[in-house]
Subunit: 351 residues, 2 copies
């Protein structure tokens, strides 16, 4: 029976590890998340749909280009400065002897580490407190195959989703043929991940029963949230680079680079269903897809089902990010979590 | 005050004309829709997001390519055979002296007519009854600046939306700065434009109050529709090219080719919110954007608002297509309209 995997997170894909480096000491509110591929790496693709992206090593993912395996993907705060975190992940992989073999010797490898950034500059207080290579190394060292820590961690530490606190979220799905697909996102969107008229998470409609919230937000909370959201944008006029949702989809099916890219495209539809608006001029929304290839290459119906499930995993991962996020009030950034803004959405919940 | 334009359709954009050629005589169920740009043409862009597209003249729309104005866009049934309809539109434009000037003489022009097709082969009974150049000429001759006929007309004549009858739909929005943006789509999707759990049109949440339906579909109708949808796909296994949503966004703002393409991208988010799944391996979903340029080039906040409204227009246009579609039962194709499948969704409506 199709349903979420054991941890309902990205690490349900065998061999995939996730690590966070979280910087929330005074003056800081940022971090880095690394997704580490098993062994010799995973086949990968990317779809960049936001108009203000910050990325590295995405050109090699074009289907016609040579390199067809990546060793890790870095998602990070710090806007384009945060790209430095990938340097640290490269160094750690190199030390472990992992990378694209370019020389005669066993250790002569170039680790392939695509990366995408989100904008959180200044949210901790200091504009220049951004992730560095050291944060990349820390995230790599923290990488684990266990359940993925979510909320205000790693790349989601300083994230904002519309007028609320954003963060990292993840979800998985096991398909009818036994293949697993999963998504991890860092939600830092210009648009809302909450329906302004109802206070519900749009993700709600795409989760299985009971996965997300259990109650209906009351009108007072809905009105208050709408007013706070309006204030957020009144105080911070439209500027490019304010936002960006970044993420990784992974599967144990065998896919080509081009199929990985198409899967990322369906993932962006999942974003569109969870967040409105998204992919705007102010977002740099970027989704990677990794295929670790433990299972055979799917025929069309199974491939279709996998891509559709990837989109739903992204939608549900956004919902999980909103549920896991925690309010932040540090004197510079004052953002409520979904849980604090809509306590009545959890009426009747056991936990 | 922002709101829909006078006709709530594509022709609210000054100078834009829409014409349909509808082929529903015995053995036929297909047609062609043409969107004619005013005067010397409109700046245009395209975003092809489905995995099984059928198009012509889309490469010239790449921002780096020379031609920056198109004279018309053809949306047509007939799968790739239907591309012939664009020949007829070219001939008609040429006869009117309209096109890209390539020679010294006034009439030495090449009309620029991008086109996209949807799959409806065999739905009228005969596989080879497809639109031809004559249908392109007929659609061009029928082009009018009046309210756009919607439903089972033009490219929407043979369209199917998941388990229901699809069709042509259109919607418009006048922005705070006075610019108009509008969309026209021919909905022929693999995925549903109806929420399987509720029978509601997802577009409902993106329309202004009272724009779409007024009631809540009852449980009996919802269950019956789900069962019919399941049968539709059981009888017709997954094959590439079964589906495709095609459309045109238009605005009177001045945009670059690249901005037109980005607007089409936000339009695809509008599709993702109205139809689930969409952009699959079985869809060839393609959206053009035309900027007729009567108004000045918008600054960032206005451009952002225009692109977001374009996405909402696409969502609402899908809703209008579903409401305007009529049931078809011709011995080969047996598809109910949304109105016939969910009469209770119209409870309390005056018309």
């Amino acid at each position: 029976m199709p349903g979420p995997g054991p941890t309902n997170s990205l690490t349900d894909v065998p061999g995939v590890r996730v690590g966070h480096a979280t910087r929330r000491e005074p003056g800081w509110l940022t971090g880095t998340t690394v997704v580490v591929a098993p062994g010799a790496g995973a086949v990968a693709g990317v779809d960049v749909r936001g108009a203000a992206p910050g990325t590295r090593e995405t050109d090699l993912l074009e289907p016609e280009n040579l390199v067809d395996r990546v060793n890790a993907v870095v998602l990070t705060g710090g806007s384009a400065f945060g790209l430095a975190a990938a340097d640290g992940v490269m160094q750690s992989l190199y030390a472990d002897g992992l990378g694209w073999p370019v020389g005669a010797g066993a250790g002569e490898v170039v680790p392939i580490v695509p990366a995408a950034v989100l904008f959180d500059l200044g949210r901790g207080g200091a504009f220049d407190h951004v992730p560095t290579a050291q944060d990349g190394r820390s995230a790599y060292e923290a990488a684990s195959a266990g359940p993925v820590p979510q909320g205000n961690v790693g790349a989601g530490t300083g994230a904002r989703a519309g007028g609320l606190k954003g963060g990292v979220g993840s979800a998985s799905w096991v398909l009818e043929d036994g293949a697993t697909v999963a998504a991890l996102v860092a939600v830092n969107s210009f648009g809302d991940a909450v329906e302004p008229g109802t206070g519900l998470l749009p993700a709600q409609r795409f989760g299985y029963p009971g996965e997300l919230t259990t109650g209906i937000p009351n009108e007072v909370e809905v009105r208050a949230a709408r007013e706070r959201a309006a204030t957020t944008y009144a105080e911070q006029p439209l500027r490019p680079g304010l936002a960006t949702v970044i993420g990784v989809i992974a599967t144990d099916a065998t896919l080509t680079k081009a199929q990985c890219r198409r899967t990322s495209g369906l993932g962006h539809d999942g974003l569109a269903r969870a967040i409105n608006p998204v992919h705007t001029l102010l977002d740099g929304d970027t989704l990677f897809t990794l295929a670790v290839g433990d299972r055979p290459s799917p025929e069309l119906p199974a491939l279709h089902a996998l891509m559709v499930a990837a989109g739903d995993c992204v939608t549900r991962a956004v919902g999980h990010a909103m549920l896991a996020a925690e309010s932040v009030s540090n004197g510079v950034t004052d953002l409520r979590s979904y849980r604090d803004a809509f306590p009545s959405a959890f009426a009747g919940a056991s936990a």
